[in-house]
Amino acid sequence: MNSTSNGVPRTAAETQVRVRAGLARRYRAERRFRAYGLAAVALGISFVVFLFGTVLSQGLSVLRQGYVQLDIIYDPEVIDPAGTRLPDDLAVADYQALVRAALRERFPDVEGRPALRELYGLVSSAASVELQKRVTADPGLIGQRQRVTLLADDTVDMLLKGKVSRSAPEDERRLSDAQVAWVDALRADGALQLRFNRAFFTNGDSRDPEQAGVRGAVVGSFLTLLITLLLSFPIGVGAAVYLEEFAPRNRITDIIEVNINNLAAVPSIVFGLLGLAMFISFFGMPRSAPLVGGLVLTLLTLPTVIIASRAALKAVPPSIREAALGMGASRWQTVVHHVLPLAMPGVLTGAIIGMARALGESAPLLMIGMVAFIVEVPAGALDPSTVLPVQVFLWSDLPERGFVERTSGAIIVLLLFLIVMNATAVVLRNKFEKRW
């Protein structure tokens, strides 16, 4: 009988022959498999690099902003024709006219309404506010001539930063050929330059890209997160302590445990629906307020905080508890004096990670109206406000070229906060976490 005819080798030598024959193929498969793995990892990393690279390359230019220097004549006829010098009169004067006059003086050969309108379009509407501020602060300026640095329009800013192509057809670039020529002229005598963009960090939202800043959103995020932290930290730690140290093993605690695990996986938008139906429509709380946002985010982050705190409490060895109990401490004293302080680094890490998640969250906040266009920086937890990620969402919807840069800038600010928070968590964990 031929031993190999039915495919079953009978001797060791035959087996070796067959194995060797397949070996090259199997090694190739091995290398291929390994290459797939490496490719997957490389692809994942390249996504990270690509994502951050795109955001940085689009957004870093927000640090600088185009400013134009003009010789402003504080004409008493325009500012205060009656000569009262009263603050109320000074506040309502037509400062835009001063800017226009300065522009006409700089470019005396521009004539005709359409051309003049284009010329006036070079300077931001924020310029008149700036002049008004100066005059109100020092009425002595009236009648004088002063070289003032004013905010340029966002289209000029984009041209300066090279984000508007000069070679593009005129009707596609939002700047006319005449405007480009004026910009070049102003640039030639150094009257138009890019400077550090303070307004981005001190202004609230605006319809004009050059005036829009993240201050309002940062303050709104801060207030919202403060409320979230004040509520979710004590409640979360309390719940974790109860479940880990006190709870009897019974039906009720089982229900609570299953509940917490399921809540952690509920989509965030469902929490927004809860906030809308419960806090706003049932309890009549104000829309768009950081207070309501904080409440919703508290419910959203609670499972995270509880789960992390429980893990930290679980990591404290039973011997610590036994020693304390042996010395006559009660269970609560054991927890407060010994277990909780030892678990604190882990608990804090969990809290920070929960807060980081809350900071990046936007879907539930859309539901409770934190998407409004709000210019003023909120002063309290009941003022209408928005938060950083929602500001990103709002700006990303706007068509102006300048807002793409602002959006990326806001994303960079948001990511910076997140990196700081996560780095704090990592440092806390590495520095204070004990290995028993």
Partner: protein, 462 residues
């Protein structure tokens, strides 16, 4: 008096109560030298008094603040309606809106009608009174409780035990918040969804293929009650989730395999957190990325291949969502792979299997239930994801399985139906809650199945 001041006063009262209780305890035994005759430390009497004082005061405070605006609004509207013929509901809600805006200061008082202005003034007056009465009632309750405990303090009062029992109840209340949240979600969503289904029949919602809720605003027009067939939304959600999983599952799984089985520990320590960065990036950033980078990129690629890709294609949204989910899949799969005992691998090696053969035929098979559980969790994450699709997917409810076209999803519709001004009774608004209920149930189901599968698997090696 603003609520935050009242809150501070309550805290101050509790601090005072601590001192009162402690001093009383020392006094009842006759001075510091006799403290050993007390059942508990003097501080425990103080803590007990402080807790008893704070609990009723805080209870009153929370209940009052929660219902104050509703009660005031009702009082004021009762006055508005007085002496006039009954006001229609729609006009009433408009007036109420004006009223709220005037009270909040976002609308100048001169821009509203006379009755509304009067009502707003009345509202502000009542609110001021309410502030003071809140302070009175809350602090009064606290002081009464304080006096009650103070009278009870005697040397044999088991203050520590009582105080600790109170603490335990407070801790229990903390953990009950999680249950209350679930109850709140279920109640609010089910209630509103129930109202929706009393207007729109079940069958239309679950089997209808036409979704155009915007029509429903013009309720007075004939034949314009809106169409609420949610099938296109379900299809769109599935399509985008499918694209996301096609990206995330192979990439996540292969990265997990590579990092767990092949990579040197040093590389693993660097690469793993780097991949997890993807999970920490806020979803708005992904949305922005999809709109400004991936979408146009796909269009250009599509054009070069002679395909028309919609500006807000399902492919762009799904791709970016897949990138977001990669670390989710990979870290779960990593956990499952490392949980497979080394002895199984050793066994396979001893039989002459190569590494990849061991992984494919032994490790992955042993880890399969856990990996499937992880993938189910990832699917539930994809279905519930909102910001990416709101920004990158479309609004039009197309019924298609072509990923190059624009589709809409359940979450996108919830957001578009609820953002902006709304009235609570229109089927348009209520539809969002019906969609929310579907979302909640589906993700819950996926989650329960996933946890069950994972738990079942873990028991094998424990």
């Amino acid at each position: 008096m603003s609520p935050s001041i009242v809150l501070l006063l309550i805290v101050a009262l509790a601090v005072l109560a601590f001192q009162v209780g402690k001093a009383r305890a020392i006094a009842v035994v006759g001075g510091h030298r006799e403290v050993r005759n007390l059942h508990s430390l003097p501080g425990h009497y103080g803590l007990l008094t402080a807790m008893w004082c704070a609990i009723p005061a805080l209870f009153v405070f929370v209940a009052w603040v929660a219902f104050q605006d509703n009660v005031l609004t009702r009082l004021v509207t009762a006055q508005l309606a007085e002496g006039q013929q009954p006001i229609p509901a729609a006009q009433m809600s408009l007036m109420l809106n004006d009223l709220r805006n005037v009270v909040a200061g976002s609308l100048p008082a001169s821009s509203v009608t006379e009755p509304v202005r009067l009502a707003a003034a009345e509202f502000v007056r009542l609110k001021r009174i309410a502030g003071f009465s809140l302070a009175g009632v809350a602090l009064g309750a606290g002081i009464l409780a304080l006096l009650w405990v103070r009278a009870r303090i005697r040397p044999d009062l088991r203050a520590r035990n009582e105080y600790e029992r109170l603490v335990e109840w407070a801790l229990f209340a903390c953990s009950a918040v999680a249950v209350l949240t679930t109850v709140g979600i279920v109640l609010s969503i089910v209630f509103e969804a129930g109202r929706f289904f009393s207007i729109v029949p079940f069958t239309e919602f679950f089997f209808g293929t036409n979704w155009s809720p915007q029509m429903a605003i013009r309720a007075d027009q004939i034949g314009s009650s809106g169409a609420f067939g949610a099938v296109p939304l379900f299809v769109g959600t599935l399509l985008i989730s499918l694209v996301a999983m096609v990206v995330a599952v192979p990439l996540g799984l292969f990265s997990a395999i590579y990092l767990a089985e092949y990579a040197a520990p040093k590389l693993r320590r660097v690469v793993k957190p780097l991949l997890e960065v993807l999970a920490g990036v806020p979803t708005v950033v992904y949305g922005f990325f999809a709109v400004t980078t991936i979408g146009p990129m796909l269009r250009t690629i599509g054009e070069s291949m002679g395909l028309t890709v919609a500006g807000e294609s399902a492919l762009a949204a799904g791709l970016v969502m897949g990138i977001m989910i990669i670390p989710f899949v990979s870290s779960l799969a990593d956990d499952m792979i490392t949980a497979v005992p080394q002895s199984l691998r050793d066994g396979a090696y001893a039989l002459g299997a190569t590494r990849s053969e061991t992984i494919r035929q032994v490790v992955l098979r042993a880890a399969l239930p856990g990996i499937v559980g992880g993938i189910l969790l990832a699917v539930s994450r994809a279905i519930g994801e909102t910001m990416i699709v709101v920004m990158a997917a479309g609004l039009a409810a197309n019924m298609t399985f072509n990923p190059l076209e624009a589709v809409t999803t359940v979450t996108v519709q919830i957001v578009t139906l609820l953002v902006g001004d709304q009235e609570f009774d229109s089927p348009k608004t209520l539809a969002a809650f019906a969609l929310g209920l579907m979302l909640f149930l589906v993700t819950l189901l996926l989650n329960v199945i996933a946890l069950y599968v994972v738990r079942k698997y873990r028991e094998q090696y424990e």
